[in-house]
């Protein structure tokens, strides 16, 4: 994977809009065949990065390559090999969903007819309805079907499921997996961690126009903590000051000892041993989620009062 030419490579990207610095030295690399999660809170610069990568806007500084070419100069040629779903899906209100699908499909190049029909079924879209009568989720479906039915090497999806219900989200994930198995690369921007967790091979997390961390999910998880909830017969010995353990709490419940704590990956084995000695009654081990990763990443970067909730944009601080 590392020897092949990356599908997208961006290095030290900067982009300023007047006094606003939207991108501030951002790095991003998407390898062929991978689903790359692109995570960050609202206003972190995800859409700006994508627009630079697509050659819709020009970077103020840094270097960007799309399929090894310059997206600003060769936009139309390079676009033959990708399909894009914008963050805010806007369609022509007077056209039907099916007509918009075909227009978008023609924009992107070749639309696979069987896949188009299959996806319309799968997403339960009524293609004869006018776009102005569609809900937000249905408009989103039109853009998604157009992109997923296209015969391309790369899918660029900017917060693609923001209007979909959980069932449709499930369908979306299945289709993306199938496309990946067929060899398609995906850049998936999102602030919904579950979705990225379910799909992504590698993840880049950005904040305030900078890449904070990047790697495979396994790599990233190594730096995060596992949550443990254990009920034991005896009091587990020496847990409180075991290395790598934090947030410890313990109480007596119905003659058993209930312990809760979190532990880093390197010390998990030792601690489970200690629990075993105290005779395990029930044990729940929750692996680190991207939520932990997300919050932890931001924790390190910003002062405490400044930790953003996932849905809270930076504007909330002002």
């Amino acid at each position: 994977m590392s020897t092949a030419q990356p599908v997208i490579r961006a290095e030290r990207l900067t982009k300023t809009f007047g006094p606003v610095r939207a991108l501030d030295g951002l790095d991003l690399e998407v390898a062929p065949g991978e689903v790359h999660g692109f995570l960050g809170p609202n206003g972190a610069g995800k859409s700006t990065t994508i627009r630079v990568v697509l050659g819709l806007i020009r970077a103020s500084g840094g270097h960007v390559e799309l399929f090894g070419g310059d997206p600003w100069r060769q936009a139309a040629t390079l676009h033959e090999r990708l399909a894009y779903v914008a963050g805010d899906v806007a369609l022509w209100p007077g056209l039907t969903g099916g007509q918009c699908l075909d227009v978008l499909g023609a924009t992107q190049g070749v639309l696979d007819e069987t896949r188009r029909a299959d996806l319309i079924d799968r997403f339960e879209l009524d293609p004869t309805k006018r776009v102005r009568d569609y809900s937000k989720g249905n408009r989103q479906k039109v853009a998604l079907i157009a992109a997923l039915a296209a015969d391309v090497e790369l899918l660029v999806l900017d917060e693609p499921t923001s209007g979909l219900d959980p069932l449709m989200e499930q369908a979306f994930q299945e289709v993306v997996r199938t496309r990946r198995e067929q060899g398609c690369s995906v850049l998936l921007s999102s602030h919904i961690l579950g979705e990225v967790e379910a799909l992504a091979d590698r993840v880049s997390i950005i904040r305030r126009g900078k890449t904070v961390t990047t790697g495979t999910l396994a790599e990233l998880r190594r730096h995060t903590r596992t949550h443990v909830h254990a009920v034991t017969v005896d009091e587990p010995a020496g847990l409180a000051d075991a290395p790598g353990l934090t947030d410890w709490s313990s109480e007596r419940l119905d003659g058993h000892i209930e312990s809760r704590f979190s532990i880093d990956a390197d010390h998990l084995d030792a601690v489970i041993g200690q629990l075993h000695h105290a005779q395990i009654h029930t044990l729940t081990v929750t692996p680190p989620s991207l939520d932990d990763l997300f919050l932890r990443t931001y924790d390190e970067e910003v002062p405490l009062h400044d930790v953003p909730g996932l849905e809270q944009p930076e504007e909330a601080l002002r």
Binding site: L56, W92, Q99, G109, R132
Partner: protein
């Protein structure tokens, strides 16, 4: 019923729409007071006024266009006549646009939902919109009164004149508010209101020409019958107040009772597939621009048909009255040519308005977020703008050609003479470079400074003002020269010289090229 949230809504409207509203009011005041001042400067003696009055009351054509002004033999009467056509168009538009912006447009874009989710009663946004519009109309009317009085017209008469125009705007504000409750889209509000305005204009025209009660059927007629410079019928102001008030009440009542986002007119299902034509860049561009082409073409056809139908009376009036010919700047040697020339200028301004609006819809595609996905495919920016340019220019040619044919046909029918098709079409075609120049300017704004696009409409307004009223008001030559239409040579009455056409065409091409280069190098979308 308590108007919960009325103060909040008024505050919201003020904050979000004040600049647009102020521009509207200032533009109206400038054109009204400007016209009045120019008339006052031109018709300085009773003799001059008398000559003018004698000229325009002979024959029916000018009566049909500007209205039958009672008391035309006075300074105020001349002002009312000179601004008759423009004010009949602009004041209803003021009422319509102020209301449409804050009612159906807000609902369509989903902002009304957010507002009604708060402590605002359902009917309050409409009520607030009508209060805004009424306030704007009141301010405009007061400024009209002051401005016209300042030009030397008795204050009482100025006040009645301004009030009659304010009443006209109020009727159309109420109409737009009602239509906004029963159509689904703000485009529909404009379409239906403008249709009513067209009918009102035709009824007033028919009534004035035939001197019958038909005039009383039209809101434009009510304003005219106030006769501010004649008999001064103050009581006629009650008609627009009552009708406008009823329309407003109906709108507020319906708004309080209907569901959010619902209306009487519903969309039907359509085709599940796009044709190969619609999928092509030119095909989609055609789809995007055809409503504008049809709308402006309809406007041009109404003018061409109406003017053509009145050709005989018009020509008869001119051949019998050299003073009138002089007043509207045509010679008696070619009365029919002069008549076609006047109409072709109207059509040229309409075509120019179409060009600006069509370029504006490119900007609309961008701000709506549809340009971004369009350019993220295999279509290059040059390809996109070229496809749209081709369609816009084709639409322009269609508007000019079709309305020229209709003008030629209706004139021939009215005069009972054979068609002079080539002559009429040639005159229309001669204006194309001027129309392209203004369109090119709008396109350059879109390519280079998209946010400044509204300046394109300002240019259009200035050109239209100079073209319509400049010669009549005898504005300075350098002012007249600012409008590209001045350089065409008033065909078929005057002779068209090649050089100005070439220069205008070259400038238009240069602007289009600049636009393309600018568009090629800027970020998309730019907010």
């Amino acid at each position: 019923m308590r108007a919960t949230g009325l103060r909040t809504m008024l505050g919201v409207h003020w904050r979000t729409h004040r600049s647009g509203t102020l521009v509207w009011i200032l533009a109206l005041i400038a054109s009204m007071v400007g016209t009045a001042a120019a008339v006052a400067g031109l018709y300085t003696t009773p003799e001059k006024i008398h000559t003018y009055a004698a000229a325009v009351t002979t024959g029916s054509a000018l009566v049909a266009i500007n209205g039958r002004v009672e008391g035309i033999d006075s300074l105020g009467g001349v002002i009312q006549d000179e601004s008759g056509f423009l004010m009949a168009l602009l004041l209803p538009l003021l009422g319509i646009s102020l209301v449409a912006k804050v009612t159906r447009r807000e609902e369509e874009d989903g902002r009304l939902e957010a507002v009604l989710g708060g402590r605002v009663a359902r009917y309050v946004p409409v009520l607030a919109g009508l209060i805004d519009a009424s306030a704007a109309i009141l301010v405009t009317a007061l400024a009209f009164t002051l401005g016209i009085t300042f030009c030397g017209v008795p204050a009482v008469r100025s006040a009645l004149y301004a009030a009659s125009l304010g009443g006209l705007a109020f009727v159309f504000a109420g109409l737009a508010a009602l239509v906004a409750q029963i159509t689904r889209h703000s485009r529909g509000v404009y379409a239906w209101s403008l249709l009513v305005l067209t009918v009102a204009y035709l009824l007033r025209g028919v009534g004035d020409v035939t001197k019958t009660w038909v005039t009383w059927l039209s809101p434009l007629g009510w304003a005219e019958k106030a006769a501010p410079f004649g008999a001064m019928r103050w009581w006629t102001l009650l008609i627009p107040l009552a009708v406008g008030g009823l329309l407003c009440a109906a709108a507020v009542l319906i708004a309080g009772r209907r569901d959010l986002g619902s209306s009487l007119v519903r969309g039907r299902p359509g085709s599940a597939r796009a044709s190969a034509w619609l999928r092509s860049p030119v095909g989609l561009a055609t789809y995007i621009h055809s409503p504008a082409v049809l709308g402006w073409l309809a406007g041009a056809l109404i003018i061409a048909g109406m003017m053509g139908a009145l050709a005989k009376q018009f020509v008869g009036a001119v051949t019998g009255n050299p003073a009138m010919a002089d007043a509207i700047g045509m010679s008696t040697a070619h009365p029919e040519d002069g008549f076609v020339a006047v109409t072709q200028l109207y059509i040229a301004i309409i075509a120019m308005g179409y060009a600006v609006q069509a370029v504006g819809s490119l900007r609309g595609e961008e701000t709506a977020g549809r340009l971004e996905p369009r350019l993220s495919g295999t279509l290059s920016r040059m390809g996109w703008i070229a496809a749209h340019g081709l369609v816009i220019v084709t639409g322009l040619v269609i508007i000019v050609a079709v309305s020229s044919v209709v003008l030629a046909a209706s004139t021939a029918w009215s005069m009972g003479t054979p068609l002079h098709l080539a002559r009429v079409i040639g005159a229309g075609a001669a204006y194309l470079p001027a129309e392209l120049l203004v369109g090119g300017l709008a396109l350059a704004l879109f390519g280079l400074w998209p946010r400044a696009f509204p300046a394109g409409w300002a240019v259009f307004a200035i050109v239209a003002f100079i073209a319509f009223l400049g010669p009549g008001l005898k504005l300075a030559t350098w002012v007249l020269d600012l409008a590209p239409t001045t350089h065409i040579g008033n065909p078929p009455l005057g002779t068209v010289k090649a050089l100005p056409l070439i220069v205008l065409s070259a400038l238009a091409a240069l602007l289009a090229a600049t636009a393309a280069v600018g568009f090629r190098h800027r970020g998309v979308p730019r907010g």
